[in-house]
């Protein structure tokens, strides 16, 4: 009768890969991001007359190159939203907030960003929100710190 053998140890080993990337954003996205630095939000104008914010380098309908830009408003409408009750470390706030799609005035498409509403009861589809600009801007989407309800008062945050 054969002796019972020790079970074979199956080897495994850890291999950690760190790998750097660079991005060239191109002329269209570059202009959009550069505009944010100057508190300007620009969309791309497609041949069929639609204004895309954030812009696209090429028209999703026809494939045409996009070279026309339209400045849009700093305020717009929440088209849909999701409440984050327990923010994680990488989220833009350490307090509850909403992720929302926001269609800015003059745009035909919506932009994803955070809304600092304080409480989910203050969020609603169709509500109007406006940009809160970051003080230090670098030409990135984070130059928009977040959106906030348009009917808030100025610095003191009182509802008017």
């Amino acid at each position: 009768m054969a002796e019972e053998q020790e079970p074979l140890e199956i080897l495994s080993a850890r291999h950690v890969v760190e790998y750097p990337y660079t991005r060239s954003v191109g002329a269209v996205i570059g202009r959009f991001l550069g505009g944010l630095k100057d508190k300007k939000i620009e969309g791309s104008l497609t041949p069929s007359g639609r204004v895309l914010v954030p812009p696209s380098e090429y028209d999703p309908e026809s494939g045409a190159s996009i070279s026309d830009f339209v400045e849009v408003g700093e305020a717009g409408v929440v088209t849909t939203w999701c409440w984050v009750a327990e923010p994680l470390a990488k989220h833009p706030f350490d307090r509850p907030f909403a992720w929302a799609l926001i269609r800015l005035d003059g745009a035909d498409t919506a932009l994803l960003h955070a809304v600092d509403a304080g409480d989910s009861s203050r969020m609603a589809t169709g509500m109007r929100v406006k940009v809160r600009w970051r003080q230090q801007r670098s030409g990135a989407i984070g130059d928009i710190e977040c959106f906030e309800a348009e009917n808030l008062g100025s610095q003191d945050g009182e509802i008017v």
Binding site: L11, S12, A13, R14, H15, V17, Y19, P20, Y21, T22, R23, S24, V25, G26, A27, I29, S56, E57, Y58, D59, P60, E61, S62, G63, S65
Partner: protein, 335 residues
């Protein structure tokens, strides 16, 4: 019997170390637009697009074909991605041609690209995965021992690689699209460049480029009606073999020999050196010219280096190889 396939438009970018002026989509589109313009077409004329590029890790874009759909006017149309590492430019065109030859599509855009500046390719193929043989710091580390074996086996003079490097860089001076334009390239310059992976010197390596190449392929009717004289696809072949197994002939791989033989048979080529006017071949390190001359049947085994030495593969030789400057002068890997 497969249908005929015509190449009715070609386009490529100006290749460079960094195309900072363009996004990834912008690079691909520059080549595609030039091919469409050459074919006298616009996006609406294209039925399907086949995209090729090297591993996703290089730019970090998963499923680049979807990422590129609007840049390639392909929204709502069939789009396929091909990936066969360094050979992907050829494989992409092959798949696209098969779509036409099979009668599935009438007009297909094939485009291949790499934007190497968006990351670090040598690093990408360097990781030492546990329990697997390492590539030893980039492609050169993998190829150097194979080249050393070739030199030992064929008794080739040590300067053959240098000659290839000089020849291809001189050819690139005639090509406005080429990445490297080394006006003062010479045997001394290449010989004195740093030894990276013995026997491969710095200037015997391909550069790292941003760029793309595109072609518009058409069925026979479209080929006959094309605004410019079309080129017809006479034959295509592909063969595979495992990268590593005991007894593999790494210097003169069987897959390459059998692939070339099948291709020549289809096209009615009896003597490749006599029957071809010119060849563009993937030569990422200089010594691969003599090695591929043998593998592809242009020379007997161990004799390929003589073609280089005699100048047969030069621009004015009897079998010019890589008149564009080749991969040694422009290397957007996927293209």
């Amino acid at each position: 019997m497969s249908k005929r396939c015509a190449i009715i438009g070609v386009g490529q970018t100006h290749h460079a170390a960094v195309r900072k002026d363009l996004s990834i989509s912008g690079v691909v589109r520059e080549a595609a637009l030039r091919a469409l313009e050459d074919a006298g077409m616009d996006w609406r004329d294209i039925e399907a697009v086949v995209v090729g590029k090297a591993p996703d890790i290089i730019e970090g874009v998963m499923m680049p074909e979807l990422f590129l759909a609007e840049a390639l006017g392909c929204v709502g149309k069939p789009m396929f991605r091909v990936h066969t590492a360094g050979s992907v430019g050829g494989s992409t065109a092959l798949v696209a041609a098969h779509l036409v030859q099979a009668g599935i599509h009438k007009r297909v855009l094939t485009v291949a690209f790499e934007k190497q500046s968006e990351s670090d390719t040598t690093w990408a193929i360097t990781p030492n995965i546990p329990f697997q043989p390492p590539l030893v710091a980039g492609a050169g580390g993998y190829f150097a021992p194979i080249i050393r074996s070739y030199i030992e086996r064929s008794k080739a003079p040590a300067d053959i690689g240098i000659r290839v490097a000089v020849k291809d860089r001189k050819n690139a001076l005639r090509n406005p699209y080429a990445h490297l334009h080394l006006e003062d390239v010479s045997m001394e310059m290449v010989e004195n460049s740093p030894m990276l992976w013995d026997p491969i010197r710095y200037l015997e390596c391909c550069p790292s480029s941003d760029g793309a190449c595109a072609m518009v392929l058409s069925d026979e009717k479209g080929g006959d009606a094309a605004p410019k004289p079309p080129a017809w696809v006479h034959a295509s072949a592909m063969r595979s073999e495992p990268t590593m197994f005991p007894g593999r002939n790494q210097i003169n791989p069987r897959a390459g020999r059998e692939c070339a033989a099948a291709l020549y048979k289809q096209a009615g080529i009896d003597d490749p050196r006599k029957d071809f006017d010119v060849a563009e071949i993937y030569i990422p390190f200089s010594w691969y010219e003599p090695m591929w001359m043998e593998n592809l049947g242009f020379a007997e085994e161990n004799q390929g280096w003589k073609m280089t030495e005699e100048g047969a593969t030069a621009f004015d030789g009897d079998m010019p190889v890589n008149c564009s400057g080749g991969v040694l002068s422009s290397n957007p890997i996927g293209a």
